[in-house]
């Protein structure tokens, strides 16, 4: 008995140790970025490099805010990311519902066609998309930044696979009770699909937040620009002051971190609710 307990404890200790090492590896870039952002320019370029600032300096933050209007950029990125996220959740859940619960001709072929669009690299569609947006006169607008990303093959796929795991009995029971399709989707499927919706939401938000090339192409005024371009503005090809760049990175990292924290709560909540119960 006792050796069994010891063995169990030891296994757990090893597990935690490995997990801690893994977690440190993952979180290291963020910690280093925070460390650099709190250094002076001189300390940031010292050798051997300092992980933790020896003298706390907060000058990099005002310097970053002064070089690029990060506040405005964050607001823009937030609005754009939020619209894209909400739109993707709506379009993807509707499409996934059709692919998962409805029967219609050519369903399989349509679904495969849908999936095949995931194989097209984003870079190759940038210029055609840009020309379309230009002919619509949507350059430099929120429409141009959001509409092209409102539908998602990956999201549809993700939600469809999740919807397929829901018991068919639910659908039948709801039909017998006289529940319409929309209501079934809204009142039963979506609440039960929270983990998948949460995952898609976080993914959509962060992908949009991290966009660089598309917003750079689409926008022509500083007031429409997004955060990643702001980080570009902090860098300069001839000389880069890393403490200022990292200060900018830390500032724009906060909303993404918040999204993950909030999304994670949803994920956990979603995992613990819902089952085949009356």
């Amino acid at each position: 008995m006792k050796t069994g307990l010891m063995k169990k404890r030891f296994t757990r200790f090893v597990q935690y140790l490995l997990l801690t090492i893994g977690a440190l590896g993952v979180v290291f870039p963020i910690l280093y970025a925070i460390g650099l952002s709190l250094m002076s320019a001189g300390e940031a370029s010292s050798y051997p490099p300092h992980m933790i600032p020896h003298h706390l300096k907060f000058t990099a933050f005002p310097a970053a805010m002064e070089t690029a209007p990060l506040g405005r950029f964050m607001l823009n990125s937030f609005v754009v990311s939020l619209i894209v996220t909400v739109a993707q959740l709506i379009t993807a859940s509707l499409a996934a519902y059709a692919f998962a619960f409805l029967e219609f001709p050519l369903k399989k072929i349509l679904f495969l066609l849908f999936l095949s669009t995931m194989m097209i690299p984003g870079e190759s569609t940038i210029i055609p998309n840009y020309l379309t947006m230009r002919s619509l006169g949507w350059i430099d607008t929120f429409r141009g930044l959001t509409v092209p990303f409102m539908a998602t093959a990956f999201g549809t796929f993700l939600l469809r696979q999740y919807f397929l795991t829901l018991p068919k009995e639910l659908f039948d029971a709801a039909r017998i009770d006289g529940c319409g399709r929309f209501r079934f989707l809204w009142s039963i499927v979506l609440p039960m699909a929270r983990p998948a919706l949460g995952t898609l939401g976080v993914y959509a938000f962060i992908t949009t937040w991290n966009q660089y090339l598309w917003p750079l192409l689409m926008t022509n005024s500083t007031s429409m620009r997004t955060v990643q371009i702001g980080i570009g503005m902090l860098q300069f090809q001839d000389a880069t002051t890393w403490n200022v760049v990292m200060a900018g990175v830390v500032i724009i990292l906060l909303p993404s971190l918040l999204t993950i924290v909030l999304g994670q709560k949803q994920l956990v909540k979603g995992l613990t609710t819902g089952a085949v119960k009356g």
């Binding site: 320019a41 001189g42 370029s45 010292s46 050798y47 051997p48 002064e66 070089t67 690029a68 609005v79 619209i83 909400v86 739109a87 709506i90 210029i127 840009y130 020309l131 230009r134 949507w138 350059i139 430099d140 607008t141 929120f142 429409r143 141009g144 959001t146 029971a173 709801a174 009770d177 529940c179 319409g180 929309f182 209501r183 809204w186 009142s187 039963i188 609440p191 090339l213 750079l216 192409l217 022509n220 005024s221 500083t222 007031s223 429409m224 620009r225 371009i229 570009g232 503005m233 902090l234 860098q235 300069f236 090809q237 001839d238 000389a239 880069t240 002051t241 890393w242 200022v244 009356g278």
Partner: protein, 456 residues
């Protein structure tokens, strides 16, 4: 039971409608913002100015534009950052009709801008207004001239210089007032400066694997980069990078590393700058424009010296080429915009503005009168070694070599050269073989460019 909670059946359509309205509202805001940015017929002319300045230069430029807008009621500059030079250049290529009125292009984009027919030549405005160009540094102007015609106005101009750590020079028993001026002297000094301290080595020298440096060494050694007078007498058809001068440069580059007096820190100049600031290397080659940055890194630790770019072992009167960027007025814009853009260009050339620009960024003062400005006098007092960069600018003779090559595929050429340098440094090819290969590749892309662009 199941359906009693959350949004009821009847509320769901309302929710959809609310979302739709929200979407339309957002779309509406976008339109409004777009419309206000267009100039009205009665108000001031708006000059859209695309630039690629980041960090400190961006800050200086923004402040200057604010000053301009505050003092001009008829013209307002709309300053827009468009990413790196390459990003901005590609964006213009994708849709020239959506371009700006005033465009900052890097040095090596000159040929393409002309061949693509995008430019309203600066010379036309200069000739019409009989604008006096004599105060402007001739070496800077010559780079942007094609024949006798100036196509764009130099803006941010720099030259490569040798930076050295005076304190490490003293510690190694070298004269801090005497910087090496030839490859052999760099080697000798680097040998004296290389020291093992504990388990880490302080190297005498390091330079980033950057194609621009190679071009500069070629020019300093009096060698052409491309045929037909660097592509300036007629369109270039052949790259000459595998000439003896080119081979000498790479042989020396590799020898320093093999002997252990120099270290290879890769392609990013930011990395050699950091190493220099952290006193890991005693000498480096970099743009004259980064002095303020280096000074910040060196503050309180050591004194920086600046010297002209070292030359190869055969004595020749030559000098480096101008690098940086220039301002272009675009041809496809209405007359009123072009005229307004020209006024903006003239304003940036005024001594006061040039001095502000140099002081704020470290770029060369391209107007000779700028050195009489108080701001510049304070600057040179603070960084006396900067004078070496100015002297180098003035001492460089004017000819096809120092004017720099003008080819349409410079971006690719630079990448090809960087690959060649890497191969040599990493012992994968000899200097001669790597450069022969690079010359062939560049020649091929020049030919292809000439064919597709219809250049004869």
């Amino acid at each position: 039971m199941l359906f009693s909670k959350r949004i009821s059946k009847r509320m769901f359509p309302k929710f959809l409608v609310a979302l739709l309205v929200l979407g339309l509202l957002v779309a509406g805001c976008g339109t409004a913002a777009n419309d206000t940015s267009k100039p009205s017929a009665a108000g001031p002319v708006t000059v859209t100015f695309w630039h690629s300045m980041g960090g400190q230069p961006a800050k200086t430029l923004t402040a200057m534009v604010e000053k301009f807008n505050g003092s001009h009621s008829d013209i307002q500059i709309k300053l827009v950052y468009q990413g790196s030079y390459d990003d901005a250049f590609n964006k213009l290529k994708a849709s020239p009709d959506q371009g700006p009125d005033l465009f900052q292009v890097y040095d090596i984009g000159t040929r393409y801008m002309i061949d693509a027919g995008l430019a309203a030549p600066m010379q036309d405005f200069i000739d019409r207004d009989k604008f006096d160009m004599s105060p402007i540094e001739p070496h800077v102007i010559n780079y942007y001239k094609v024949g006798d015609k100036l196509y764009s106005m130099p803006f941010n101009s720099s030259m490569p210089v040798l930076y050295y750590n005076k304190d490490l020079f003293k510690a190694a028993g070298l004269d801090p007032a005497k910087a090496p001026s030839t490859f052999a002297e760099v080697e000798a000094d680097a040998k004296a400066l290389t020291k093992k301290v504990g388990d880490k080595t302080v190297y005498g020298f390091s330079q980033a694997i950057y194609g621009w440096f190679f071009e500069q060494y070629m020019a300093r050694d009096g060698a052409l980069y491309a045929n037909n007078g660097n592509g300036r007498d007629a369109a270039a058809t052949e790259a000459l990078v595998n000439s003896p001068a080119g081979v000498e440069i790479l042989t020396w580059w590799k020898k320093l590393i093999d002997e252990g007096y120099a270290t290879n820190l890769g392609r990013k100049t930011a990395d050699t700058q950091n190493a220099f600031g952290a006193q890991q290397i005693a000498m480096t080659i970099d743009s004259s424009g980064i002095l303020p940055n280096l000074t910040t890194a060196a503050a309180g630790k050591f004194e920086i010296g600046i010297a002209p770019l070292p030359r190869g072992n055969n004595e020749v009167n030559s000098g480096p080429i101008i690098g940086g960027g220039s301002l272009w007025i675009l041809k496809n814009k209405p007359k009123a915009q072009q005229e307004a853009a020209w006024k903006v260009v003239k304003w940036f050339l005024e001594p006061a503005q040039v001095a502000t620009w140099t002081v704020g960024t470290g770029y060369l003062p391209i107007n000779k009168a700028a050195v009489d400005q108080e701001a510049y006098k304070d600057f040179i007092k603070k960084y006396p070694s900067y004078q070496a960069a100015i002297d180098q600018l003035h001492n460089t003779p004017e000819n096809r070599i120092t004017q720099g090559a003008r080819i349409g595929v410079f971006t690719q050429a630079r990448a090809t050269i960087e690959n060649a340098i890497e191969q040599v440094v990493l012992n994968k090819a000899t200097a001669k073989a790597a450069l022969d290969d690079a010359a062939k590749k560049i020649t091929d892309s020049i030919k292809e460019y000439n064919q597709t662009m219809g250049v004869k």
